[in-house]
Amino acid sequence: MNNVLEVSGLNKSYGTFQLKDVNFTLPENCITGFIGINGAGKTTTIKSILGLVPKDSGTVKAFGKDMGKYEREIKNRIGIVLDEGAFYEELTMSEMKSIVAPAYSRWNENEYRSCMERFDLNPQQKISTLSKGMRMKFSLVLALSHEADLLIMDEPTSGLDPLIRNQFMNILLEFMKKEGKSVFFSTHITSDLDKVADMIILINDGQIVFEEEKDALLDTYKIVKGNPQELFDKTRKLFLSIQETEYSFTGITKNAVEIKSACKNILTEKPAIEDIMLGFIGGK
């Protein structure tokens, strides 16, 4: 399987914040979710990849080519959605399009028109009058209308209601049906990913915590609940994180089998991505 994006050794200091040796790769034909709490470094990573902020060190390769050397060629194949629609609010959608479109050599006007129609957007409407959901859709239209092979999105779903988020996920799945397409998007709403993601990358405090297949992740980790009297230091070490009350404990672990043999009365459940994320960043 080819990698559409390879980030290696990325470092960036930004005020008091730092990205520390960020490495990851995005496989082709996959939706990769980039998760982490606010301030973990998601936006800075994405901006560094796109060259919006100069990086201190590291390389970014897209489609096998170096981003620094082939920047325009690569950007021509990437569709971007920045959070809350990065637009000149006083323009109409049609005017905004007329500024963005000529930058792309593969701009497809028919695709643009049919997308606008499908999403119920009126090109003559002023951007400042659009709702959050409409803005996100318009961002998507711009990103989808130039035959991009990779979509990179920064928090596209933040502030949207569940119905629109669901529509958004379906649009992504539709996009993925064509061969050779990939999506990378950051979010702190991990439930978005339960349904659509193939890969999950977790970043915390400027560092990559893990990079895993979503299903493998959900198969490996279990929520284990049981009797706190049965917990000993040895068992405790098998947990990623654990919460205890007088009546029970709830923990997240990839050693469910060992714990089962150590404790008599336990329940195991399948976790959501959020449980795993919190297990990694909040448990210690």
């Binding site: 901006k47 990065a86 000149y88 930058a103």
Partner: protein
């Protein structure tokens, strides 16, 4: 790049009408209020004030929506093209002012016609003023530099005519220059203009390219 120039026009579309009014209005107003004033001075004031409006509004729009600029820079636009477009935008407004003045002086006989030299010298002053201001604005942002521009503009528009007059009266230093044949004078002026613009453009591009968006 044409589309990026168009972007600047779209951003100031609300003020374009005002720009047109100013380009025609200021010369008429000055000619009516101060009939004796030199055509050159009138033109200089017109240019400076006419450009002020779109410059402020385009900068304000960019300052208000920094993410939109970021979006353009994620597209295959070169950052340098975004900057160059801004310079072209001002150039177009300058040319428009020239045309407006030319039309007026054809229609209104009391208005002094501009010589080519007047236009070139105005363009030189225009290049120096904006050539200093634009890179500073890229460096420090709109908020910090908006008063600087006002100071620069008022200083230019009020002081320049007096300075020019002063030079005209005293005749120092200028002898060497005015003694030169006309084509050489033009060539010298245009060279200076080109040098000013290219230094300014390079500085702006360097600053903008290093900027975190």
């Amino acid at each position: 790049m044409f589309n990026l120039v168009k972007k600047d026009f779209l951003l100031v579309k609300k003020y374009l009408a005002l720009t047109v009014v100013l380009a025609f209005g200021i010369p008429l107003f000055v000619a009516w209020q101060a009939p004796g004033m030199m055509g050159f001075a009138v033109f200089l004031i017109t240019v400076i004030f006419t450009v002020y409006i779109p410059l402020q509004s385009v900068s304000l729009a960019e300052a208000k929506y920094p993410k939109a600029t970021a979006l353009l820079c994620t597209a295959p636009y070169r950052r340098s093209a975004v900057v160059k477009a801004r310079y072209v935008f001002f150039l177009i407004i300058f040319i428009f002012c020239c045309l407006a003045y030319a039309i007026l002086s054809l229609l209104a006989p009391q208005m002094e016609m501009l010589s080519t030299m007047d236009v070139v010298i105005t363009f030189l002053i225009f290049s120096i003023v904006f050539g200093i201001y634009i890179p500073l604005q890229y460096k420090f942002g709109f908020e910090k530099t908006k008063y600087l521009l006002m100071v620069l503009l008022f200083a230019t528009s009020f002081l320049m005519p007096s300075i020019v007059k002063m030079f005209a009266h005293t005749n120092i230093n200028l002898d060497i220059f005015t003694g030169l044949p006309l084509p050489v004078r033009y060539a010298a002026l245009i060279t200076v203009i080109l040098i000013v613009i290219s230094i300014s453009l390079t500085a702006s591009i360097k600053t903008f390219q290093a900027k975190a968006l």
